[in-house]
Symmetry: C2
Subunit: 403 residues, 2 copies
């Protein structure tokens, strides 16, 4: 079908032929509502009785800016491919997909109406006791099973082919996470009370050398299929379920990048509550969650590895127990350390870059906000500059508590 | 044109319509001769008067084994793409290309009839005083200008797209360079006098852990377009000219892999002459050449980098001199060390793996050959196990002289 932007009316026409959607919705009258909460896309709820689905369509520009900011609608192709790939290997953490159409840049999927965007929940100091287990399972599955630790050499190259051309969105990360926030750039957005710290940062040699290292890893280490933008705004959850959404930034990159995004967002949530709620119990829960995410990830990842006898990297019969034990130690330590480096970059960019996080930006008192930003920057700098030396989770937690 | 295997007769038909070839060859009668020295492909010389060109066509099996060993003829597509890419950026080191045809899996190019396969020259203890300068220029250009240090983010991804699917040949390297030679495997070919050393190697934990590290780099670090099989049999040269040929293994991999292949082959040539000619002056020239290749590569690479103000990795205005200086030091040291690791793997696999090198295998006295193999293995083990600790070229040369 040739691409066209759908409206209420044309959606009715469009879904008439889609059995999976009609079967699910049943025969009652259909109501369609546009819920324009996205920066990039059009999102509709299609309701019929008590059933509903989401239809998401990409338009060839950045929706929140308008047609003058063109952005290829092919981003939806990568989102579709990533959702389908992740659905196959991490079923419980991906919404059900009823229909997808790359030509039309659209997908129809489960309406997560019993779930909340995690960032909003965290701002309200809501604890999610199963989050660590869920997200670490998702991370272990999505990363391990798209890597050369699980796939054959040729399967991995085939999968890479589907994502390698996600140029525009990779470039956005390269610019907005690894470059612009640490130099003079029009896109930056700096709290007046943080000008001094910003000036210090853009002249911090050790920080910038390591940002280049991390950017180089991001661009050149093609280890696994990443979500690519796994902040707490890309997670919808409740006490019992955790869903990962919006993987339009998906591409093959370093294991640590998605893990780092989660850690960064949790640290910034923790810091924001020094001003927001001063709820120490919630803050302790956040720190405990960071520990659990990292520990459970490692445990789940190693469990998957133990079950896998043959892969692109490890041919059966090549390595005995001692070799595998030693190699896995080095491998996991490397993922851990790079995760922390990426967490640092993700935190730093939220302070001075174009896209802040509501956890911090929502603090309207500029002095209070600057206190959170200052703490966040201190941690970010240490993570970026020292990630190769941080040995374990306790050291990480000491750094966080230290501010 | 639909694929078919060409013969003398059909080549005459085929080239009738190719102006570039006809213009070059002129109007004299054409003679065609098959020179079957390849393992993989059919190679013809097309002569007319004193002019001649080479026509190389891939068949869908491994030529040296026969039709029962299928190997996709698409390998020629990667060879064509790599030759064209390298020709654009390292013109002097790539033969002239008159015509190429991916559908027919064939290429017509300059006949290098004033040149010798470098391995044959080295076996005869011939010195090539300009080789180090030529190959280091080729390496610097081909690696730098296909990397994110030179290309834009999106140019690099576009170029990667052309090579990412070179699955079969990447898999061959993964198996035959990084896996089979270090385990029990039918494809291995072991000098009876080296059985003890082979047994030791396949139980050497430190060696195998680091082989896994290097294999992982090979598979997951997509830094630059590599030749992928740059041994001295893929180089044709004379005193004044050096040409790189046969890049059918081309893919995006780590900077150090091609450099390591050159270093490995030079070290093995050096070692072979303890038994072949005992020509110490030639051996000293080989060691001096290793030093020059590494030094000149670094100098050329850094010169290209200094000339480049904007790339995928480094945005103009991001990094001041101090940042760039420090980052470049770390970067070049990393390339150097990984080159030595890959050199070690390349050497080790030549001793026990399926494809030995004529420099060593051509020594018919098994005891003499074992002495060379033993020395080669000692160096290979140190390079693989210690590559991350070797600081400079003098340390490398000490290791080589030490055996």
């Amino acid at each position: 079908m040739e691409y066209r932007v759908l409206t209420d009316e044309s959606i009715r026409e469009y879904i008439k032929n889609i059995d999976s959607v009609n079967e699910y919705l049943g025969n009652e009258e259909i109501e369609i509502e546009e819920i324009g909460d996205g920066n990039l896309n059009f999102v509709f709820i299609i309701k019929s009785g008590d059933k509903s689905v989401i239809l998401k369509q990409a338009v060839p520009y950045l929706r929140c800016v308008g047609e003058e900011w063109p952005l290829s609608r092919e981003r939806m192709s990568y989102e579709i491919r990533a959702l389908k790939t992740f659905k196959d290997i991490a079923n419980n953490n991906i919404p059900n997909i009823f229909h997808s159409d790359e030509n039309m840049s659209l997908i129809i999927m489960q309406n997560l109406n019993k779930h909340i965007i995690m960032r909003k929940g965290l701002i309200q100091a809501t604890k999610y006791p199963n989050f660590a287990e869920h997200i670490s399972t998702f991370l272990a599955n999505s990363l391990f099973k798209t890597s050369s630790l699980y796939l054959s050499s040729s399967e991995k190259r085939e999968l890479m082919d589907k994502f390698n051309s996600n140029r525009e969105l990779c470039k956005m990360t390269e610019d907005f996470v690894f470059t612009f926030p640490y130099m003079k750039h029009d896109s930056n957005n700096i709290n007046l009370l943080m000008q001094k710290e910003y000036q210090e940062l853009i002249h911090d040699i050790g920080f910038k050398v390591n940002i280049l290292k991390l950017k180089n890893l991001f661009m050149n280490k093609s280890e696994a299929l990443l979500h690519g933008d796994l902040h707490t705004g890309s997670i919808m959850l409740n006490e019992n379920e955790t869903y990962v959404i919006d993987p339009e930034f998906a591409f093959f990159g370093p294991f640590g990048f998605d893990i780092g995004a989660i850690i960064a967002n949790l640290i910034q949530s923790y810091l924001s509550h020094f001003e927001r709620t001063k709820d120490e119990i919630f803050q302790e829960w956040v720190l405990e969650t960071i520990r659990e995410v990292l520990l459970d990830f490692e445990e789940n990842f190693l469990e998957l590895w133990d079950e896998t006898k043959e892969s692109a990297l490890i041919t059966e019969g090549f390595a005995n127990k001692e070799v595998l034990y030693e190699y896995k130690q080095i491998f996991m330590q490397n993922i851990f350390q790079e995760s922390l480096g990426f967490a640092g970059a993700k935190m730093a960019r939220r302070i001075f870059g174009i896209a802040g996080v509501e956890d911090i930006l929502g603090i309207k008192d500029l002095e209070a906000r600057a206190r959170v930003e200052g703490k966040s920057l201190k941690i970010a700098k240490r993570l970026v500059k020292e990630y190769e030396q941080i040995e374990n989770i306790d050291e990480l937690l000491d750094i966080i508590r230290g501010v």
